[in-house]
């Protein structure tokens, strides 16, 4: 089937079989290998991306379901000059990654949650990190990183308001 995936604001016209899952289309057809595939059964969350603003498992969606729908992957987090996203800075500062396999999934999970609610509380973040698996650092540094990014975001907002 002929579809167009819109990933990080770039259009990727593709010809895919209906059975192609979104994760494979992103990695193999679009060449966006930042999205990782772990379990391929919706458990590990390494393949989490934003589809129409919602964090979803890209192994549990078909590429043909995403024709014309805005998709955001970990490659779309950095700013136009390549500067890291506040979440990426926070993961580095809190040592929220070790081998890095689960990191793109956690980043997109957190990016989706922060887009919906920039004031994410500690309890919500603790609940959120249960969505994905990490086998290196454990969840505590990841939880701290997401909390730090949420706090930095709020401080940044308030800073800007003050300067106006």
């Amino acid at each position: 089937m002929k579809i167009t995936l819109t990933v990080n604001d770039a259009a990727y016209p593709l010809d895919v079989e209906p059975r192609r899952v979104l994760a494979d289309a992103l990695r193999d057809d679009c060449g966006l290998t930042g999205t990782h595939l772990g379990c391929e059964q919706g458990v590990c969350g390494a393949c989490t991306v934003l589809v129409d603003g919602e964090a979803v498992r890209s192994c549990l969606m078909l590429a043909v379901q995403c024709d014309g729908v805005p998709i955001r992957t970990v490659e779309g987090l950095a700013g136009p000059g390549g500067e890291p996203h506040p979440l990426q800075r926070a993961f580095s500062a809190e040592r929220g990654l070790q081998c890095g396999f689960c990191t793109p999934g956690f980043l997109m999970l957190a990016a989706g949650a922060l887009d919906h609610d920039p004031r994410l509380g500690d309890e919500e973040v603790a609940d959120l990190v249960r969505s994905n698996l990490c086998r290196c650092t454990g969840y505590e540094p990841i939880r701290r990183a997401i909390t730090r990014a949420a706090r930095d975001h709020q401080n940044g907002q308030e800073g800007r308001h003050r300067s106006v």
């Binding site: 391929e40 919706g42 379901q65 249960r130």
Partner: protein, 284 residues
């Protein structure tokens, strides 16, 4: 593994969708169970009908004391207690956070859970406890089945393969109903070993109505009728709730052994969890 090859259609009307089902299609709504089963090669449909583009199926309406949940209403909709009026919304909000994780809840649907009929499904247990009605449509017409007669076993329902589950209807709960939902599982990632939902009405100091739903306490979702009978006319008290828990565990439940949870263990958990859920549901 990858899904095996299939043809894909995206009907734009319910009529087109049921035509596809008549041609042997499997329904793709949230896809969080179907695609999983296709990855694991437990399902290999020749045709998949993606109903996400059918207008109207995403509607959630409450009128004349009835809540109607369309086939495309996602789990996450119920995370806001205000999405559904009254204690029913409170009960759904307490239950939904025990279902999988936020990214799964963003896609998966309540109706899809009822179509899949996993014995550990929280929604299925609530459907039987709350006297929900399942609406099924096919090229032969529309029929409605009470949830109590709909579940036949693990992943088995009264739905014919060519029938589309278009909506689930629930009677709204009276404003003075107390509700609670509790779940026991091995880890945060596990399916429920036991889950219990309860709705209690207390008038003039005695329990006048009790609804208890049990998930993963048998090969299908159960309503704990024996436990409920012990409660009617009783004062809401810890001994009464303990007795109801015992009745649910010994008379209602028919637990099957699972790794890490043999039958004796599960009966114990059921008794404890039912009593705990009732204590929490009891209006103060």
């Amino acid at each position: 593994m990858k899904p095996s090859a299939f043809d894909y259609v995206a009907p734009r009307t319910v009529a087109d969708a049921v035509d596809a089902l008549a041609a042997g299609a499997q329904v793709l709504a949230g896809g969080q169970s179907l695609l999983l089963d296709m990855h694991l090669q437990r399902a290999h449909p020749a045709l998949v009908a993606d109903i996400n583009h059918v207008p109207g199926l995403d509607e959630l309406t409450a009128s004349d004391g009835t809540l109607t949940v369309g086939a495309l209403v996602r789990h996450q909709t119920f995370e806001s207690p205000g999405a559904v009026p009254g204690p029913l919304g409170d009960l759904f909000a307490r239950a939904v956070v025990t279902i999988a994780h936020p990214p799964i809840r963003a896609r998966g649907t309540m109706a899809g859970s009822l179509a899949w009929a996993h014995p550990a499904s929280e929604w299925c247990a609530l459907a039987v406890a709350l006297d929900a009605v399942v609406e099924l449509r096919s090229t032969r017409g529309t029929r409605e089945i009470p949830a109590g007669e709909y579940f036949l076993g693990p992943f088995q329902t009264a739905r014919e393969p060519d029938e589309l589950l278009t909506a689930v209807r629930y009677p709204l709960l009276a404003p003075d109903t107390g509700v609670a939902f509790t779940e026991h599982r091995r880890t945060g990632f596990s399916f429920a070993q036991v889950a219990v939902g309860a709705a209690l009405t207390v008038r003039d100091g005695v329990i006048t109505e009790a609804r208890i739903g049990l998930a993963n306490c048998a090969d299908r979702p159960l309503r704990a009728h024996a436990a409920e009978r012990t409660l009617i006319g009783a004062e809401p008290s810890s001994p009464a709730f303990t007795m109801a828990g015992e009745a649910a565990s010994t008379e209602d439940a028919a637990p099957v052994p699972e790794p890490y949870a043999d039958v004796d263990y599960r009966r114990h958990v059921i008794a404890v969890l039912v009593a705990r859920t009732l204590r929490e549901a009891a209006p103060v």
